[in-house]
């Protein structure tokens, strides 16, 4: 019998002390109360004013009790459900759980046939969803692009209509405004079996972006209000750039991003208490030579770790960032940057880690980067799962039985554990030289490309209900009329 035995069931780190977290938290409240934000949205201004905010024109200052109350109302744990009831595709948000997926809105895409960079088109959408559906360590879906070959107001509607039937993993839906938000919602609700059924088992998450520094834009709040009214789990994620649109220091960018998120949180929780809400976003540096937002910078991982710890300190889940790169090719830089940020993200236990598959600093989406990162995430997940220590795993008896000069291959203990204790790579090669040579001396990128091609040729996602297919057609037809 053991007494007072402490168990560490996974590998995590804590970067900030409780004192530092308290200081960050109080600083966010200070910014919201004394500096305030601009809110470019009449209805939101009224909602905030009625709830106790100080409103001067567009400038809104939130007394700290309002923010504390909103934080109190938002849940830390909840589930986003697979549309087809497959429990393996459900996402359980809660302490110590990291999930991964692609990001939205890259203008370009790496063509899966030619491997060339070109504008992202409608026919890329189902293909990305299929790859997401098949990859074991990718948990949610975004499209990796902005559809260029449809009416530009309808890009997001076509995106959702293309993703939804091609993966049963939950989708994080990006949209332009409340009109396409509504179209997206119609499709999801049709599959769920009505609004009430959707509220019990939400099958997608809505994504909105405020503007840094310190602006809540009209479109972002239109979308937020739509999501809140229809009880769609919500991500409110700024994209501040340290040294450009945010302070150059880590602590400074973290509190500014949190203030931007919590303005959305306060509006959302006022409208719909208990609405699942993720704070964001993408925090990184402006590269001072090339003037880009760097997606492969070590500071991205550091800033994201800091804001994750702050989110968890106040009991909110976080929209993490990782698996992305500034490289233009599927090369060593892409592997280093993507793997390190994915691993670091897993270590933070950040709840939904997006932008897996981003290359060229978010200018180009790549399913090849996504598939390579699937392997890196599997690797990271094995590490963060940690080491289990108990009577069975200590294996003192097994060591005694085998003794000096024996071997463990035939032991029942080995058979019991080898499948779960070890990570089995899908892409990393461990063959001996002769076999590797015989298989054509394939490099990592060769194997990534064949894996993607294999998935596209063979993987069959579970279909949506026939009535949902009809709704998708109707939604697209009426959307086309909307823009005529």
């Amino acid at each position: 019998m053991r007494a007072n035995y402490q168990v560490n069931s996974g590998v995590r780190f804590q970067m900030l002390s409780d004192d530092q977290l308290e200081e960050l938290f109080e600083s966010v409240l200070h910014v919201l109360e004394y500096t305030g934000l601009e809110v470019h949205h009449e209805e939101s201004l009224q909602i905030l004013k009625d709830a106790g905010a100080w409103v001067d024109g567009k400038r809104v200052r939130l007394p700290s009790y309002m923010v504390r109350r909103a934080l109190e109302l938002a849940p830390r744990s909840f589930t986003i459900y697979a549309r087809d009831g497959n429990p393996e595709h459900d996402i359980h948000i809660g302490p110590g759980r990291s999930h991964f997926g692609p990001g939205p809105t890259c203008p370009n895409f790496i063509d899966v046939e030619t491997m060339e960079r070109r504008p992202y088109v409608k026919s890329d959408v189902p293909l990305v969803a299929k790859v997401v559906d098949a990859l074991p360590n990718i948990d949610f879906c975004e499209s990796l692009g902005t559809v260029d070959d449809v009416h530009h107001d309808l890009g997001a509607t076509y995106e959702f209509a293309g993703m939804f039937p091609n993966t049963s993993k939950p989708i994080v839906a990006w949209s332009y405004d409340k009109y396409d938000s509504e179209e997206i919602h119609k499709i999801a609700v049709a599959e769920a079996g009505g609004q009430e059924a959707f509220e019990r088992r939400p099958n997608y998450i809505h994504y909105c972006e405020p503007l840094s520094p310190l602006v809540s834009t009209e479109d972002a709040l239109d979308k937020l209000i739509f999501a809140a009214n229809h009880r769609v789990p919500l991500i409110f994620t700024p994209c501040p750039i340290a040294g450009g649109t945010a302070p150059v220091t880590a602590a400074g960018i973290i509190i500014q991003a949190a203030a931007e998120s919590w303005m959305g949180l306060t509006i959302a929780q006022t409208l719909q208490p208990g609405l699942p809400f993720f704070m964001g976003g993408v925090l990184s540096v402006m590269d001072m030579s090339n003037m880009i937002l760097a997606y492969g910078a070590p500071e991205l991982s550091l800033f994201m770790a800091g804001i994750t710890e702050l989110a968890h300190y106040v009991g909110l889940p976080l929209w993490q960032t990782g698996g992305c790169t500034d490289s233009k090719a599927l090369d060593e830089q892409a592997a280093i940057e993507g793997s390190l940020s994915a691993y670091f993200s897993a270590l933070t236990g950040g709840d939904l880690c997006h932008d897996v598959g981003y290359t060229e600093s978010a200018m180009t989406g790549s399913v090849f980067q996504l598939a390579m990162m699937d392997e890196a995430i599997g690797y990271a997940r094995r590490i963060t799962r940690g080491i289990e220590v108990n009577e069975d795993t200590l294996a003192v008896d097994v060591i005694h039985n085998v003794g000096p000069n024996g071997h463990y291959l035939r032991e029942q203990h080995t058979r019991n554990h080898y499948k779960t204790e070890f990570f089995y790579p899908n892409l990393c090669d461990r063959r001996n030289y002769e076999e590797w040579e015989m298989m054509g001396k394939q490099t990592m990128s060769d194997r990534v490309v064949s894996r993607v091609q294999d998935i596209l040729a063979t993987h069959e996602p579970s279909p949506v209900k026939p009535e949902t297919e009809k709704v998708i057609e109707e939604v697209l037809a009426s959307a086309e009329k909307r823009v005529k």
Binding site: H152, G155, G243, M286, M291, M363
Partner: protein
């Protein structure tokens, strides 16, 4: 070269804003022509900054500091240069188009153009086509630069170009566009004169368009 002019070059390189006005006045008091102060004091400093920036030895904040220092001197020189009929680098009018509030990229272009010696007027963000038209009419820029971050707001560039055509001003100005979703083929499609993929190349292209 005169000691004062060489001090001006150094002050531009170091972005020493506080000494610029005094050094400029001193150079003029010593009997230098405004054009000489520009060509032999300010420009060698700015050229050095450009070279070092491209080599990765200087960074954006330093370039912007140098550009600001140069502008401080230019505010004294500009009226004198105009008076004596000297051709200046030119005027650039900038703005983020209607519906778009993203302006960090456009702000960088403004500062890079100032560093290249242009007189810059920034109309800000969410700029209506009519406001661009008025800007072209009143300010008389050689180059108009428009920026957008969103595919939806990108179209406002096309509308703005149409408005400028309708106002009969299209021939008077070169139009340059940029922003994350913008491409060369989009620029060709909407009848812009050029596309730049980043702030430094925007300033270079503005120069090229004017001298062409």
């Amino acid at each position: 070269m005169s000691e004062t002019l060489s001090k001006l070059s150094t002050a531009v390189i170091e972005g020493d804003l506080e000494v610029m006005e005094d050094l400029t006045s001193q150079a003029l008091d010593e009997g230098k022509e405004a054009q000489e102060v520009l060509n032999e004091g300010l420009m060698p400093g700015m050229d050095h900054v450009g070279v070092e920036f491209k080599a990765g030895n200087m960074f954006v904040p330093e370039v912007l500091r140098s550009a600001r220092a140069m502008q401080a001197s230019m505010s004294i020189l500009r009226p004198l240069l105009t008076e004596s009929g000297v051709e200046l680098a030119g005027k650039v009018l900038l703005g983020t188009v209607k519906g778009d509030l993203h302006d960090i990229g456009k702000n960088l272009v403004a500062m890079m153009c100032e560093g290249a010696g242009f007189e810059v007027k920034d109309l800000g963000k969410d700029v209506e086509p009519d406001v661009f038209v008025e800007g072209v009419r009143d300010f008389g820029p050689d180059v108009l630069g428009m920026s957008a971050l969103l595919t939806t707001t990108m179209r406002a560039m096309e509308h703005t170009i149409k408005s400028i055509e309708e106002a009969g001003l299209r021939d008077q100005v070169k139009i340059l566009i940029g922003g994350a979703p913008v491409t060369q083929s989009f620029a060709d499609q909407i009848g812009a004169d050029g596309y730049a993929s980043n702030a430094a190349s925007a300033a270079d292209l503005a120069k090229k368009l004017i001298s062409a």
